[in-house]
């Protein structure tokens, strides 16, 4: 980037600057070391407490038993099957949710009147805990993956619509005068200003939607499914296999974290490409 010209590169940096960078790096390493320590200490304490009989492993499980459960599932060829089902449902949920949400937001942006008419419905739908619709979904859509994806969509779409529409309207307020003075049509205002300006908003809506989609999918799996991590958790709970429950939660945790970081990394790359990184 051209702006780097103004900054001095590492090769020509002053002693003080090198010292500053070193201190910065050291501090960052300290932060990461502490973060890892907390995790390791937590696992060790849990495992230790279980081994010493301080906690009942039948109720609380323990890391080694969870690991064994994961390995067993893998050996039976079930681990990646369940992971795959849940991942597919989640990805479908947030991609369709974000796309549909953005599209609906665009429609509502286009017609201020429609937006005003539908406003109370949006507010009420947003306030409703969508999970309450679960049993209705089973009746309407049937059990299985379809119902779960619809559940994820229900949970994620409304939030996306609200977030993206707010973003659209903010940009419009700010840049409308400029586009008017240039004699732009509504479509031009949308494609040249509102939509590109809202890319960061859409991405943060996507991030939100990823989280929402997980909620929808797991709840959906609780209710109807025969496969997936949510199914494993519920099944494990019902037959009192807490090892299976805990192991599934741990895998879920890992997947959710990975997906979040993947989306965050994609966001960073995309914004950097636009010169905003």
């Amino acid at each position: 980037m051209a702006s780097n010209k103004e900054r001095r590169t590492a090769g020509t940096a002053s002693k003080e600057h090198i010292a500053y960078l070193r201190a910065l790096k050291k501090h960052n390493r300290f932060i990461i070391a502490m973060q890892l320590s907390i995790l390791i200490a937590f696992i060790l304490l849990w495992e230790g407490a279980a081994r010493l009989g301080l906690v009942n492993t039948f109720i609380f499980s323990c890391p080694s038993r969870m690991a064994a459960t994961v390995l067993r599932l893998n050996a039976e060829g079930k681990l990646f099957y369940h992971i795959g089902v849940t991942m597919l449902e989640t990805v479908l949920g947030f991609t369709i949710g974000t796309a549909a949400g953005t599209l609906i937001a665009a429609l509502l942006w286009w017609s201020r009147t429609l937006s005003r008419i539908l406003d109370p419905y949006m507010v009420v739908l947003n306030a409703l805990p969508k999970i309450a619709l679960g049993p209705i979904l089973i009746v309407w859509v049937g059990s299985g993956m379809k119902a779960i994806v619809v559940m994820a969509l229900l949970v994620s779409t409304i939030v996306t619509v609200m977030t993206v529409l707010t973003g659209f309207n903010e940009i419009t307020g700010e840049k409308q005068l400029l586009m008017k003075t240039l004699g732009a049509t509504k479509l031009q205002s949308f494609t040249k200003v509102v939509l590109p300006a809202s890319v960061p908003t859409v991405i943060s809506a996507l991030k939100l939607s990823v989280g929402m989609s997980w909620v929808g999918v797991i709840v959906g799996e609780y209710l109807v499914s025969k496969a997936g991590l949510g199914y494993l958790i519920v099944y494990g709970g019902q037959v009192f296999k807490l090892d299976l429950v805990m192991a599934s939660v741990a895998v879920l945790l890992l997947l959710a974290a990975l997906m979040y970081y993947a989306v965050a990394a994609a966001e960073k790359r995309l914004l950097a490409k636009r010169g905003e990184g």
Binding site: E174, K175, L178, K180, T181, L182, G183, V193, A197, R274
Partner: protein, 286 residues
């Protein structure tokens, strides 16, 4: 800075009371009323004015008096409630290339490079081709911003950003340039430098310009004619023609705003505009 040296070769306004000069912009008994839920506000009342080709006219008045509303009518953004607005003898329409409107804030699009930003008007008007693109880049060069073509707006200073906005406005060769306090968001020094530079560009290009400002000295330093307005609703209070002693030096060269500010007689104009504004404020007190 070389700007002190006047503008060799500038066309300059030829406004020696020549009635045959074609009016680029005109208001005829124009009034503008805004309607809101709470009631209506008269922003402009019965204003008539004409701006000749190549002329630089400033609109001065107390803040909030409705100067911007006058620009809106000339730009075709607001239709006069009574009377009429004409640009080149026709009803102003922002979709044509007749008027270029420069706003207080630059409104550059953060995700577009400087080069892509200056093409926005041409794109919207469907006039972007090799020729117009080359012309826009030429204007950019004239503003000394060629090296920043591939930069993004956030990498530029406030003054450079506002110059980019000027290039965006001039890129589609408008017949009439409307400037709505384009320097007021800048620090004082940048403001003076930019006013000087923009004045040079406008005069060299032979553009017709209407400037809204609340800065009296800016108005005197830049314009050929100053129109002073009353507090809201804006009515034309006084027309002040800037004399040749401020416009040109002994050899007939056009003076820059910097040079004008140092001329004898500048302060008399200041006092004159000031007293008109004072009177206006006095009238407005209830």
């Amino acid at each position: 800075m070389e700007e002190f040296a006047g503008y060799p070769g500038a066309v300059g306004p030829d406004i020696k009371e020549d009635e045959t000069v074609r009016a680029v912009a005109e208001l005829r008994g124009a009034s503008l009323i805004y309607h809101e839920k709470r009631g209506e506000t008269a922003a402009v009342e019965n204003v008539s004015l004409a701006v000749g080709k190549g002329e630089f006219v400033s609109l001065v008045g107390p803040s909030g008096c409705g100067k911007t509303s006058i620009l809106s009518m000339l730009a075709g953004l607001a239709e006069p409630s009574r009377g009429e607005a004409l640009v080149l003898g026709a009803r102003p329409d922002p979709r044509t290339n007749a008027t270029g409107y420069m706003l207080q804030r630059d409104h550059l699009l953060d995700w577009r490079t400087i080069e892509d930003n200056i093409m926005l008007g041409l794109e919207v008007k469907g006039r972007l081709n090799d020729e117009t693109r080359a012309y826009a880049l030429e204007l950019l060069d004239m503003c000394g911003l060629t090296d920043f073509r591939r930069h993004y707006p956030r990498q530029l200073s406030g003054g450079m950003r506002q110059k980019t906005a000027l290039v965006r406005t001039l890129a589609f060769s408008p017949e009439l340039l409307l400037l709505d306090e384009p320097f007021s968001a800048l620090d004082y020094q940048t403001r003076l430098l930019l006013a000087n530079e923009v004045h040079g560009i406008i005069k060299r290009g032979g553009y017709t310009a209407v400037l809204v400002t609340h800065d009296i000295s800016e108005a005197i330093a830049m314009s050929d004619r100053i129109l002073v307005f009353t507090p809201r609703p804006a009515r034309l209070r006084r027309e002040i023609r800037v004399g040749q002693e401020l416009l040109r030096d002994a050899e007939g060269r056009l003076l820059t705003p910097f040079e004008r500010r140092n001329r004898a007689g500048f302060n008399e104009y200041f006092d004159l505009v000031w007293s008109e504004l004072e009177g206006g404020v006095g009238d407005g007190v209830e």
